[in-house]
Symmetry: C2
Subunit: 366 residues, 2 copies
């Protein structure tokens, strides 16, 4: 097991990464002493890992209730929050109770947001069981639900007490989801660490094959990189926006084809290609770097083209994205592999051209 | 106009109190420069003050959308939040937009909570138009909605950018609501400031008659007292709980008779009598002080007895209150007028006796 600390003052918390740590009751015990736990999970994860977590908590002497949600992004809505908080109220959970999110990003977003607003905020622990959740939602404290009018439009910044990421749980993950999680790992390397990008190029087969040592390093390094950025800009006022590389296009893809048809990581992969091409078109990024980005995504089995929607439709969807400041669309571009910059002055014609070039997949092809 | 600052580090904000300041565009301008505003109000307040606020904002050059909610506590539910956030998304409000809460406590709780969770948190300004909202929700950052299983069980701590409390708006307030607001003013004096209690005894007729100077002092002093406590304990970890004097009983009264049948301040008044009697029964508070509390509440036209519910029903309702720590009920008691203490070791028989003595009003009498 390896650990790191996300430095956020009084909200500082540890991330533990390793194989089999879901069974390590000593890891959980410090957070649960004398407190009620509410495990939030979903119908896919519960049969795989709920019993193991239950056993671990019992070994800590913690009493826990269990709340099992439906699987999928469509669970991120008001009435799921109502169901979670209802179950907690019925069980008498109070302000000292702890929510434990056992599952992927959707479970983490919902459980974390429920913790953020239950009795005006209680503690929670993330136990992410997908690669995407381990490398992305582990760090940053973003929680929330979707609104009919936009993804993640309702939510809170709420930091966990701790993250316990068992890479052993990735063995049960469908290959498509493992690849989608790798998109975020690649993103962290692209915007922050050229050496890590080299390492991913060299270890991609191990990662895709479920090698525990390679996965532990990839998760830990991704979290370290993201943690540095989040520590400098917890509320996403500036710097943190570079983590949205590929996401402005990616969110438009997800919204354009309907949430759930593309995995988030797949939309981010195609979005990263668009953002990379835009970086080259604005004269900053060199062609060989563009080729390396495309090649790695192809090797990872990720899409490098978006669905066919008109550039105007993409632009309309990007404008409602909450990273848009006062109506203008801000893009994250690459200056080189491992170095990103924010730009809100890009030529709309270049954006349209990139979209037209990079959106050739039928919306139903995924 | 008089002003004070609520000292909360980077979340420090000013409270401005005075007659007619709703029309003072220079007060609003610093918060609105180049930002979109979303005014949240309700069907009762809108005909009285929306046009004035609209004119004031126009004088600042601010563009504003208007969201008018139904009146009443029952608006504090999930779908009202959905409606507010929907209107803001449709209008293209982004992270730099500002919510303005124009109305009483319900509007403030809803607008503040919507701001807390819109795109993971944006700024808001409180423009309270009831005495209760001016002296209570102005300070503390508490926002939220009710759950079918309990009042204010869902919410966030979210501090405003500023509070602009125009005591001129209290002239349109029904007498019953003015009296209910005075219950919280009296509460602040009882737990924190004996001199202020003396002042209220001496100026009660002016306050009830709508005297602007007396109201300005009462609002300002209430906010100062509450601000001292909140600055020391923003997240209600300890000290701040003394502000719940009368509220443990009061919330049980509200829940027991159904929200909306008693005004919050009325329930708090009867709750304060119960808490005062409990203070005397535990041997701390002297009989003449009890008599002064009762006499002032009677002069203010506030109830001094709760509805007839069994002591067991009261106790059951109090246990689900979110101030209950790990199942035990914590009471705020008075050691003297102007000095409060927290106790979670009180004899349940004494609590039952106080409830039996002080609940003689038919639930339909209010």
């Amino acid at each position: 097991m390896q650990s790191l600390r996300v430095a956020l003052g009084e909200r500082t918390y540890p991330i533990h990464v390793g194989a089999g740590i879901l069974g390590d009751s000593a890891l959980f015990a410090p957070y649960l002493h004398g407190r009620r736990a509410a495990i939030v999970t979903n119908a896919v994860v519960a049969p795989l890992y709920l019993q193991r977590l239950r056993t671990t908590l019992a070994a800590c002497g913690a009493s826990a209730i269990e709340i099992t949600l439906e699987d999928g992004e469509q669970a991120k809505r008001w009435d799921t929050l109502d169901a979670i908080t209802r179950a907690m109220l019925e069980a008498g959970c109070d302000r000292r109770s702890v929510v434990i999110a056992l599952g992927g990003g959707v479970v983490g977003d919902l459980a974390g947001f429920a913790a953020a607003i239950y009795q005006r905020g209680i503690a929670y622990i993330q136990v992410p069981t997908t690669l995407l959740a381990q490398v992305d939602s582990s760090v940053g404290g973003k929680t929330g639900i979707n609104h009919a009018l936009g993804k993640n439009m309702i939510g809170a910044f709420h930091q966990p007490l701790a993250v316990i990421a068992d890479v052993g749980t990735l063995r049960s993950l469908p290959a498509r989801e493992l690849r989608a999680g790798l998109a975020e790992v690649i993103k962290h390397a692209l915007v922050l660490d050229a050496t890590f990008f080299d390492w991913i190029e060299a270890h991609l087969e191990g990662l895709l094959g479920g090698d525990a040592q390679a996965l532990t390093h990839a998760v830990l390094r991704s979290c370290e990189l993201k943690a540095q950025v989040v520590a400098a800009d917890e509320r996403e006022a500036g710097l943190r926006a570079i983590l949205n590389f590929g996401h402005t296009f990616g969110h438009a893809i997800e919204a354009g084809v309907g949430y759930g048809n593309w995995l988030h990581g797949e939309a981010v992969a195609a979005g990263m290609v668009m953002a990379t091409e835009l970086s080259a078109r604005t004269g900053v990024l060199k062609a060989p770097a563009v080729a390396r980005v495309r090649a790695l995504l192809v090797r990872a089995g990720l899409p490098i083209e978006g669905p066919v929607l008109s550039p105007e439709r993409y632009l309309g969807l990007m404008r409602v994205d909450k990273k848009a400041a006062a109506g203008r669309i801000r893009f994250v571009i690459l200056e080189a592999i491992g170095r990103a910059a924010l730009r809100d002055d890009l030529d709309p014609a270049a954006v349209r051209a990139v979209i037209a070039d990079c959106s050739r997949v039928s919306a139903a092809a995924q």
